[in-house]
């Protein structure tokens, strides 16, 4: 009989506390944050509400087909923005306060997990939540559009008495062309970037505050201020100090191109790319700022 092999123990270098950055740990924290958020009632209620509201958008009936499709698109994209904003802000605002309140943060940070990894994992989980919510709402939006399109085509066929086949085909073609505009992808992309930026801002606020209510309130104030930046800049264009001060707040109005896409305006990809770049730079700086505050914070 041979002796069982004793486990090999690799000794940690004496006095070494340094732990390298690990994308695996970030992914684990993100996955956990996402799972935790999905299990929460608030998220589910918000999402169900959003899906119901989007589904009801197809009930606009007593109008012309162009009116109906415009209403459905405006209403659905508006709903996606509102509920997406709520999910982004409320979902992110509670991440750090909950961890501190439940004292789970001590358990995590006592392990070889860097604070930056923890923060980045939390943020990634939140962005994943926003993304999944957007995907679900977009699917419901598409279903509402398909349903509306089929109803309109059926109605056009019913009213086609006396109309030649090519004329009917032309009308059906018009309905189909008006229903699915590939440019809607641009609107959805910018909504996503805007929501990710809002989540980053909320995360930044929550690194120096312990109250979730405070986080949510400040995030909503920044949301409103961000939409007023464009108007304010036009009003105070001559005042350089005001322009510099306004420069601190991201211009969230730049992300609202959905209205114009629905009206059939051509929004070039180059413009969309500029807005995405603008949003991403803000986002990265905000998360970096959150890291510097969080790493300094006493827990």
């Amino acid at each position: 009989m041979t002796e069982p092999a004793s486990p090999v123990v690799i000794p940690r270098p004496a006095g070494s506390e340094w732990v390298g950055f690990s994308p695996g740990r970030v992914a684990a924290i993100a996955r956990n944050t996402f799972t935790e958020a999905v299990r929460q009632k608030v998220f589910n209620i918000l999402l169900v509400f959003a899906l119901v509201v989007i589904a009801t958008a197809s009930l606009f009936a007593e109008f012309s087909f162009s009116e109906q499709l415009k209403f459905v698109k405006d209403f659905c994209l508006g709903t996606i923005t509102v509920f997406g904003t709520l999910i982004a802000i409320v979902g992110t605002a509670q991440l750090l306060p909950n961890e501190v309140e439940h004292r789970t943060i001590y358990t995590i940070l006592a392990k070889p997990v860097r604070r930056f990894e923890f923060l980045l994992g939390k943020y990634t989980g939140s962005v994943l939540l926003i993304f999944m919510s957007l995907v679900m709402m977009t699917l419901m939006f598409s279903a509402a559009l398909v349903y509306k399109e089929q109803r309109l085509i059926a109605s056009a066929r019913e009213d086609a008495a006396g109309m030649s086949a090519p004329d009917l085909q032309q009308e059906i073609g018009q309905i189909q062309a008006a229903t699915f505009d590939p440019d809607l992808v641009k609107a959805l992309l910018l909504i996503f970037v805007k929501l990710a930026l809002l989540a980053a801002i909320t995360l930044l606020v929550s690194t120096f505050s312990t109250s979730m209510v405070f986080n949510v309130t400040v995030a909503f104030m920044i949301l409103v201020a961000g939409h007023l930046v464009g108007t304010a800049r036009d009003m105070w264009a001559d005042n350089r100090l005001a322009v510099w001060l306004l420069g601190i707040i991201p211009d969230l109005g730049s992300f609202n191109i959905a209205d114009d896409i629905i009206l059939g305006n051509a929004i070039p990809w180059a413009h969309v790319a500029k807005v995405v770049l603008y949003g991403m730079v803000y986002l990265v700086c905000t998360v970096a700022g959150a890291h510097f505050i969080f790493s300094d914070r006493e827990i």
């Binding site: 930044l204 036009d234 211009d251």
Partner: protein, 262 residues
């Protein structure tokens, strides 16, 4: 404290560095949108405080839709001036929505125009006619502003032509607008036929004939037209204008061909 200071610098300095990009995006936005909405005191009073907040939060389309639906409610209640006011507000909010201009003018010229003409409150029939005419004029002015805001769409030129044709019975002005509408590649296939008819009604039968001939000489396999109607109208004009048989292009009834036995 040190961390907060660094955080402030990390957030603020890049934000300031991005000011030129922010300004460029803002300038592009203004250029692309061709008429963004400024929430003035007057507009806020007209749409209400709640709608103004929604507007400021970036929901311009939704607010415009709700104002438009409200205008429909006023139509059902026969409150024409309120309906008119809401239609105005909807177009202020979204001046690029062709639908608002088109349907708004249609409501004014057709629905409201007829309703005021048969209003029992009219003391005389002439008063009804006068009031109806006023609404036609409002519709015309509304469409004019719509065209000003959307010069690159055929719809409003067609709507203006139709208004001139049906309500003012002014075929010449109608023809002018139809001519502008058919210049757009996405104009529907029935528009050229309406245009040809307007040309004839305006007194230019030769021009109308030339137009029908031009339509007829297109490739019938690739261009969609009800060719029977085109042939019928073309033949009618050939007869009316007494076009010599050897110059006629539309298919003739064999019995009427030159040399056919009587």
């Amino acid at each position: 404290m040190r961390g907060k200071l660094i955080a402030a610098l990390v957030v603020v300095l890049p934000a300031w560095a991005m000011l030129p990009l922010e300004n460029r995006i803002h300038a592009e936005n203004v250029a692309l949108r061709y008429g963004t909405t400024q929430v003035t005191g007057g507009l806020r009073d007209r749409i209400g405080q709640g709608m103004a907040i929604a507007l400021l939060a970036g929901f311009r389309g939704v607010v415009a839709d709700f104002v438009w639906i409200q205008s429909h409610t006023f139509w059902e209640k026969r409150e024409w001036l309120r309906q008119y006011d809401d239609m105005e507000v909807a177009t202020i909010l979204q001046p690029q929505s062709v639908m608002f201009w088109d349907l708004g003018a249609w409501h004014m010229a057709w629905n409201i125009g007829y309703a005021v003409s048969v209003d029992p409150a009219n003391r005389t029939k002439a008063e009804g006619i006068k009031r109806e005419r006023e609404w036609w004029d409002k519709a015309r002015e509304f469409l004019r502003r719509g065209i000003e805001n959307n010069p690159n769409r055929y719809d409003l030129y067609f709507a203006m032509g139709w208004l001139y044709q049906v309500k003012y019975q002014d075929w010449c002005r109608a023809e002018e607008y139809y001519a502008k509408a058919i210049a757009f590649p996405d104009a529907p296939s029935y528009l050229p036929r309406i245009h040809a008819r307007a040309l004839e009604k305006c007194g230019d039968a030769i021009g109308a004939y030339q137009y029908w001939k031009g339509l007829w000489l297109q490739d019938h396999r690739t261009v969609h037209q009800p060719w029977g109607i085109v042939a019928r109208e073309g033949k009618r004009l050939e007869d009316l204008l007494k076009i010599p048989y050897n110059q006629r292009v539309f298919p003739m009834d064999p019995a009427r061909r030159p040399g056919a036995s009587e």
